[in-house]
């Protein structure tokens, strides 16, 4: 099947070359970081995790979000999604690759990375996160590849693949739960120390993953003869709407607890993130933008007329992605570090090399996604789906 990725139109190759160029830029920036150390990033003694770990968290969400097509299809026998589960699975594969790369570029001492395996520490959530993410990626590669091969040959996939599919569903929940535990179990970081962290993560994942999938479906329909389907996109739209409403509801719960209890530790990070402290905050405009996008998304997703029209749905989905990306890929990690353990505010902003490296990682993820989707499209066109 791999050979189908080697035959494509000009646009396909153009996109790949463009992504390769970005990967090149990212790689060169990484070499610079590798020789100079992480001092070329904006991270500091006080804000010791930044953009990289934020992006890791966000893309774990996208990866987990793929399960929102698999679950209805296999657990609720919603046949229509059978057509696009493969898109969800391959999106998960590309996302997990990005997660892995974001961890790698964040390490201070990459050559020793294998120490995680050589001297594993079972009480470390990072250790478990690595395991669940890798297994999830493998599951999706195996499932996706076998289901697609079977479809191409016009046969039903084998029984054992079904077993893996059933495993992959709770596994998707596990990857984002474990990722939430990276944060939610740390004493003294009040912004993170919340029992609904995992629930918030899952709700935002189940909104942003399918939202990205909708946009990808629309693109696939435009550039190929394979139509993911009107009904499929509409159902996904409903899922995004529910998940995103839940996500915003959870945020309100957090705000209530913090501001009704008036416990300083619980309020501080919110105060900082939204610039309520008096002294300005570099993040405040972004956090307010996230709220703005959320309002747009809520309106477009809740009003049935706009949710059912594909163009307004697309705008709504883009707004969901923007809102959750800022909230999780940025605010979440940094908010945990500000104020610092001494109650001081030391701000963080990513540097240019840091952003270029991140661009390189995204480009790698989208490169893989493009190739995988190209294979899917070729197969689907071949069998005339």
């Amino acid at each position: 099947m791999l050979e189908t990725a080697l035959k494509g139109r000009q646009g396909y190759w153009g996109l790949l070359i463009f992504l390769l160029a970005l990967m090149g830029v990212g790689f060169v920036s990484y070499l610079y970081q590798f020789s100079e150390g992480l001092r070329i990033t904006g991270m500091s003694r006080d804000v010791s995790w930044g953009f990289y770990i934020g992006q890791l968290t966000y893309f774990v969400g996208i990866a987990a979000g793929g399960v929102m097509v698999v679950l209805p299809c296999y657990l609720h026998d919603y046949k229509a999604f059978g057509r696009i589960t493969i898109l969800g699975e391959f999106l998960a594969v590309a996302s997990v690759v990005m997660c892995g790369l974001f961890v790698i570029v964040d390490l201070g001492n990459l050559p020793r990375m294998l120490n995680i395996m050589i001297y594993p520490n079972p009480t470390s959530i990072l250790f478990w996160d690595m395991i669940v993410l890798n297994v999830y990626m493998l599951l999706n590669i195996i499932i996706g590849w076998n289901v697609l091969s079977a479809e191409r040959k016009g046969v039903h996939y084998q029984k054992w693949v079904k077993v893996l599919i059933y495993i992959s569903i709770p596994w998707a929940f596990s990857i984002h739960t474990v990722t939430a535990f990276l944060y939610a179990g740390i004493p003294g970081r009040h912004y993170w120390l919340t029992a609904i962290m995992a629930a918030r993560f899952l709700s935002s994942a189940f909104a942003s993953g399918p939202a990205l999938l909708i946009l990808l479906c629309l693109i696939v329909r435009k550039v190929s003869n394979f139509d993911p389907g009107k009904e499929q996109i509409r159902t996904l739209g409903g899922i995004v709407a529910y998940a995103f409403i839940l996500n915003m509801f959870f945020l309100l719960l957090e705000l209530f607890t913090a501001f009704y209890s008036q416990i300083p530790g619980h309020m501080h990070s919110f105060d900082y993130l939204f610039g309520l402290e008096g002294h300005g905050s570099v993040l405040a405009p972004w956090m307010w933008a996230s709220i703005g996008f959320a309002v747009v998304a809520l309106v477009l997703l809740i009003v049935p007329a706009t949710r059912r029209r594909e163009d307004t749905l697309a705008v709504g989905c883009a707004a969901v992605i923007a809102s959750t990306w800022i909230d999780k890929g940025f605010g979440l990690v940094i908010g945990g570090f500000i104020p610092n353990p001494f109650g001081r505010v030391f701000e963080y902003w990513p540097t240019t090399p840091e952003v270029l490296i991140s661009v390189g990682v995204w480009a790698t993820g989208f490169f893989i996604l493009t190739v995988l989707y190209k294979i899917v499209i070729s197969v689907k066109e071949e069998v005339g789906a």
Binding site: E36, G37, L38, R39, T41, M43, S44, R45, D46, S48, W49, V103, D106, L107, G108, N109, L110, R112, M113, N115, I116, I118, Y119, P120, N121, T123, S124, I125, L126, F127, M130, L182, I186, P187, G188, R189, P264, G265, G336, F337, N340, P341, F342, G343, R344, F346
Partner: protein
Amino acid sequence: MGLDRREFLKVAGLAGLLGLGGKAAIDMFAPGELEASMETIPLTEGKRWAMVIDVHKIDETIIKKCVEACHREHNVPDLASKKEEIKWIWKEDYEHSFPERHHEYVGEDVEHGSFLLLCNHCSNPPCCRVCPTKATWQREDGIVMMDQHRCIGCRFCMAACPFGARSFNWGDPRRVLEDEKLKELNPGYPTNQDYPTRSKGVVEKCTFCAERLAKGQLPACVEAANTVKKDALVFGDLDEPDSNVRAVLRNHYTIRRKPELGTNPNVFYIV
């Protein structure tokens, strides 16, 4: 005051005080004899090292001495950058040492008093819990150690430490030797030829001077403080009912940083 320890340590410690290195101290023993005496050195005896800092006794001079002693002893450079700062022990005011205790009517002497902060060598250390490689772990004597050979620089421990006790080498600390400005700030770096520096990409922090304890010496900061004022800093074993630290804790009201988080810090402050 001092360490109530075994005969061997006294001898070795004496040698240490006389300025002889660990090796020289060892040469004073015949082969075999040392082996036997080493067995009694308690790493496996469930000890619990602790420090008591008497805030009434320390002043700017003592604080400065302590910080200098530690940072010189362990080759901790001054990088002239808030962002990349590396510190094992440092001065902090009351409000930021105990943010949750602060109120606006606190007395002048406390408000403007200076505290010495360092790793608390918590008995229930979250930093060790989260480390994916056990590069930071708790020894049986309670010391929370760092293994810079193993650290992968993930900085999970920095996120997990609620006391800001950990520093990361964002760059190569040895650039101090090249950069003109930094060279001036760090005369003689590396100041202790018998102790390593660090490399870029690893985390570091106070080790309760594990390498000195092994030779029967007090931590460098404690030693430095006590040359100025006796018992300003007291170091000893909490596990032993009649140790120096236990006596001090019995006789004074002490507080610890953020005890509500359950990490069980082993650095106490007499206020």
